[in-house]
Symmetry: C2
Amino acid sequence: MKFIHTSDWHIGRQLHNQSLLDDQRYVLQQIIEIAKEQDVDALIIAGDIYDRSVPPASAVALLDEVLNTLVNELKISVIMIAGNHDGHERLGFASRQMQDSGLHIIGPLSASLNPIELKGKQGNAMFYPLPYADPATVRHVFECEVSTHEEAMIKLLEQVTEHDAKELPKVVISHCFLDGGSESDSERPISIGGADKISPSLFSDYQYTALGHLHGPQYKGSEQIRYSGSPLKYSFSEQNQKKSVTLVEFDSTGKADISLLPLYGKRDVRIVEGLLSDILVAGQTDPNRDDYLMVRLLDKSAILDAMGKLRAVYPNVLHLERTGLMAQNQQLDIGKEHIKKGELDMFSDFFSQVYGESLTEKQHSAIVDTIDSLHKGEQA
Amino acid sequence: MKFIHTSDWHIGRQLHNQSLLDDQRYVLQQIIEIAKEQDVDALIIAGDIYDRSVPPASAVALLDEVLNTLVNELKISVIMIAGNHDGHERLGFASRQMQDSGLHIIGPLSASLNPIELKGKQGNAMFYPLPYADPATVRHVFECEVSTHEEAMIKLLEQVTEHDAKELPKVVISHCFLDGGSESDSERPISIGGADKISPSLFSDYQYTALGHLHGPQYKGSEQIRYSGSPLKYSFSEQNQKKSVTLVEFDSTGKADISLLPLYGKRDVRIVEGLLSDILVAGQTDPNRDDYLMVRLLDKSAILDAMGKLRAVYPNVLHLERTGLMAQNQQLDIGKEHIKKGELDMFSDFFSQVYGESLTEKQHSAIVDTIDSLHKGEQA
């Protein structure tokens, strides 16, 4: 059994109001090419297929196209689960009428486990797709008491562990946040301030765990408990990530042989920092002028239409930060903050900035007296 | 070949802000029962599956349930086309992965004809699903010149007529407005003030034409060119319609034997007219108090909380018209209208109402002179 693990396609997503549909089509085409070249048996998408529960019609049409190529033309089975961005009912519509075609879409969580045995050219494997489900949903579906994401996952995995896979390798597919995982700016928190982290050790008994949610490729606990990461950079915080799909192949003992196959965006997503004049000069000979850029201008003076000037050279500047001006503004802001404080606080801030130490008790009471007498003078 | 023709399910629709999902589940269950009892080979839904392009998730879940019963449990093939209410890309998602299951969803129009040969226990038939498409879409898909809905349909039917059905009966499925068809208040016009009507004669060569759009069951041109109508009353204008599905069976010569099988809503949709006191008394013994009602009160005096009083007896009064008060108000309005008109118009209106005929030319100039001299008197 040889399969590709990918996740977090977020089809229909925008980057600073720029549609990424062309970029998504481009990189999904690469995934199709890899699947073809590697002659894989299956492709697993571990959630966040779309960017939101009601994706634009163009995103639906793109996914339809990609699935048709994979499933109908290349005869590659596809298993996908709903992530925390997906609309579970919408994504799962008519999935029971698709499964014989080799397309397995798991939308809403159901109480009965849905193991999928896929045939491989070199042996079969048993897949356990677990769509994203918060503790409330698990409570409702299983009529049980769970309050954290970890307890909910323990509940879901009970069935997986009990299931007889007839000695086949077990592959769990899940969309969750493993404790210790590295976040990017483009993931939507699973829980705001809640207990959303799950211990990687829950998955240590399975031959492979295909995870979705975190956008940087990484593993936690052990090598076969793994996030594939998103196929594209969905925030500037990901500028240094190398995007890839994960190729997994089980050997005859059921051990997973894992490799990362790189993906190349049609346009890179990166940050450029410098003085406007330097950036404009460098841009003239930059072979990647179409990249999506965030520009941090270090100039300290006002610039007329900086965005217009930058876009004449880099047409896809999506965001501009006046880092130079901001430094000054931040100082101004601090000034304003100080005015709001009382005189005592202002003086002790000033004192500690100049002397590097706080007022002694004696100094403190001296300054309190001085301020008091000044106020009395005002009132007189 | 024996099949049910239905259309315009409009799942997710509301009636005066009242969700009809329970009513839709109830009547769709009846359709399933009929399909089972009649042991049909197929069920055809001629468009407007959902009420809008982005249906609520609960509507998606209901349709998923119904299709699972029909296709997976009862092994009845289902063909459905997008209507003018449906989102074509959304509805058509992954349809190529479903068709082997017996579920055929035709969302966007494509240039290649998509004939579906269905196997029947008593002979096969060839179905031609034509999703709703306006002239602009047909122009775009076929790169041809059509400007009216009729020209667009002629273009679509060319392929159907040319297709070799191997002597099987041809069934066209379409969502359109046939010239002479009777409308209800609940259809969304296909074109506002445009040329949206299609001659029924375009369909006269086919053994059956399963139409959707109009909500009352009816045929145009000949018996086998037919609207099934919606399964539920979606406006009070339909209070006297008898809802049904159309059962079609081809005999050995390919002639369609057609019958209407009635559907019964969980609650009827009807209009009650009378004095409040009479309605309240009658309501006490009304066995159908849960019906969805529009009440027309004939009382001419103000009534405190008429809706509250009515709902104590009829809990599902959805709309209240104060017909009695309105009649008075309309007279007032007419009075105001008259004041805006000139004296000449007012007099000729009055004259024709009293005498039942218009002013003669002589009378007309006499009154003009009179009004003129009156005005001169004013100015003097």
